[in-house]
Assembly symmetry: C2
Homo-oligomer: 344 residues x 2
DNA sequence: TTGAAAGCGCTAACAC
DNA sequence: GTGTTAGCGCTTTCAA
């Protein structure tokens, strides 16, 4: 574990010590052919002995490839994003890529800053769960031909782009079918921001499926929160307060934290789930399996979203040909537990 | 959003277009002094117009600074590590550093690979939650003067090193004090690998505090798992199977997933928590607040571990002087819920 | 206040 | 098989 001060730190040092040229040493470092076996061994031995570590920064400068993918998310602690990152990493690590993280804390401004930073860093591609409503920076990146894959939320862009996400409209349609299948007709819904495509499509699926089934929706049963727990709680409180005028037997809450908030509001009001009110959640994660009651929930195949994203990235990074953009829509699924019951 | 093909992509382009030298342009890009105000404005305008994006790769090659911190963890999806990453990122992002992730999947071999990869990438520093028992690679990094901060688990190294973690021995002493305070005397314990310092110190604190209190420990009540849920389940099954010979009223489970496994084994055997057996967990995270019963648990101040790690990193990265290594031991705490009851 | 030039460590023609 | 050399885009003396 000796330290060889300033020797053995670069190709030139190794080359000099061996009386070889840098290109020959470079060839063996990169496993190229056209090197005499004997020479190769000598070089390898020197590399080992002097603990030579190739400099990827120099290599990147020369080759214009950093083997780095920037992943920008609103909040890395949210299970959805953590799983997504894991899925992407699983796939791209096999090809030698690494993820560099940008956690925006839901701030469009920070998102733009990360976009700038990662451009300067020359990441090979970007994965973006955008929270921005003015995607100018994004647009310029795409125009400048850096591969960008969108996940979760889509940008309001007129040009085409790559994306991997679930069919949010379908998710809500499934929610309606599930609840109406349990004979519910008066269904409340708590949404996140409808300014984002995610929220917009979840509302769309809900409304359209309800009307297809000929069920009138009481607009007083549609509430908007901000994805956070407190807003789920508040929305639920409002719903409960006006329950005599606007009755409902089930509530569909379209995000994980809002679902927890809603559950607590119900419990707080001395009501029981599912006996008094059925709750259908979204993105609920119960790692412990010890929540009571277990919450029936729409789920996204997060790890697959990550894996598909990773695969799409690899494809965009290797295909020389200008492939046309694609939107990969995965299917959500319902994880049935105990929070919804059949009306008699 | 025009695309300026091969113009405006580097300092030289900008310099040429303006009839200036690269050094002058470089000065304004870096906000240096000694540039005439008029020149500065002209350059800034050109940068804007031609959408010039500085190349950090080239800058890094020149300055030997990548503004990148490698964070290597066994499993990014574990709440502990996710929170850790968030804490680190919060601090270092303010100084322009970014995190590049290495998820080893608990494999010492992958850990070594990431150590190699991140060395080649020339990360400025490393954060390492090691799973390796032969830290040769780590040692050579430290010797080569790249700052390394250890978290969670410590390496078996004879030289000194920086680390931020909780006092695991203290955690177990607190566990013993809490349970004995509830009049428990026969306390079972389920541990992870004792080969790792984390597990070793948790056992140490338990044993030493028990004997200080004059309570004999039945060694049959000490079980070893592998941190995963299944092993918690299996250990608990064993404990329950021999309960008539080796009775116990409480069990202290030293990891999150093993705690869930143990809970399920107890429920599976038709027993209740805490009426029949008290369960004291470790690292249990209940984001929903809807687990029933709520599990009383030892907790680590994860985000602080992350923040302290970030601060230590920044210090090591800015202090020219060779500072002596430090081990920052944070205090664990008990989050009391309903899974432990007082014996009568 | 500005410019010329060296060089960070590497890859890849191209020549021998 | 191996060596020479020209950059990749930038920072930074040093000189003007």
């Amino acid at each position: 574990m000796e330290k060889h001060s300033n020797k053995g730190n670069n190709l030139k040092d190794i080359a000099n010590m061996l009386g070889l040229s840098v290109s020959t040493v470079s060839r063996v470092v990169n496993g190229r052919r056209y090197v005499k076996e004997e020479t190769r061994e000598k070089v390898l031995a020197a590399i080992e002995k002097y603990n030579y570590v190739p400099n990827d920064v120099a290599r990147s400068l020369k080759t214009s490839v950093t083997k780095t993918i920037g992943v920008i998310v609103p909040e890395i602690r949210e299970t959805f994003f953590t799983q997504l990152i894991k899925g992407i990493d699983d796939v791209i690590a096999k090809s030698g890529y690494s993820i560099i993280i940008g956690d925006t804390g839901e701030s469009p401004q920070r998102e733009d800053e990360y976009l700038d930073l990662f451009s300067r860093r020359r990441v090979d591609a970007l994965v973006l769960a955008t929270v921005s409503s003015e995607p100018n920076k994004i647009l310029s990146l795409i125009v400048n031909e850096i591969p960008v894959v969108f996940v979760d939320n889509l940008p309001r862009l007129s040009i085409s782009f790559d994306a991997v996400l679930i069919d949010n409209e379908l998710a809500s349609r499934m929610a309606v079918d599930y609840l109406t299948g349990l004979s519910h007709r008066n269904i409340a819904i708590i949404l996140g921001s409808k300014a984002e495509t995610t929220g917009y499509n979840r509302l769309l699926g809900f409304s359209s499926r309800m009307s297809e089934l000929g069920i009138a929706t009481d607009t007083a049963l549609i509430k908007y929160g901000d994805y956070k727990e407190a807003s789920g709680f508040a929305c639920m409180e409002e719903l409960l307060a006006s329950r005599d005028v606007h009755p409902f037997s089930a509530v569909y809450v379209t995000s994980e934290l809002m679902t927890y908030g809603a559950m607590k509001a119900i419990i707080n009001n001395g009501l029981r789930v599912p006996d008094d009110i059925s709750v259908l959640g979204f993105d609920v994660h119960d790692r412990s399996g010890l929540m009571r009651p277990g919450i029936t929930t729409l789920r996204q195949p997060e790890e697959y979203i990550g894996r598909y994203t990773g695969e799409l990235l690899i494809k965009r990074l290797s295909d020389a040909e200008e492939a046309s953009k694609q939107k990969i829509l995965l299917e959500p699924y319902i994880d049935i537990k105990e929070s919804c019951k059949k009306l008699d």
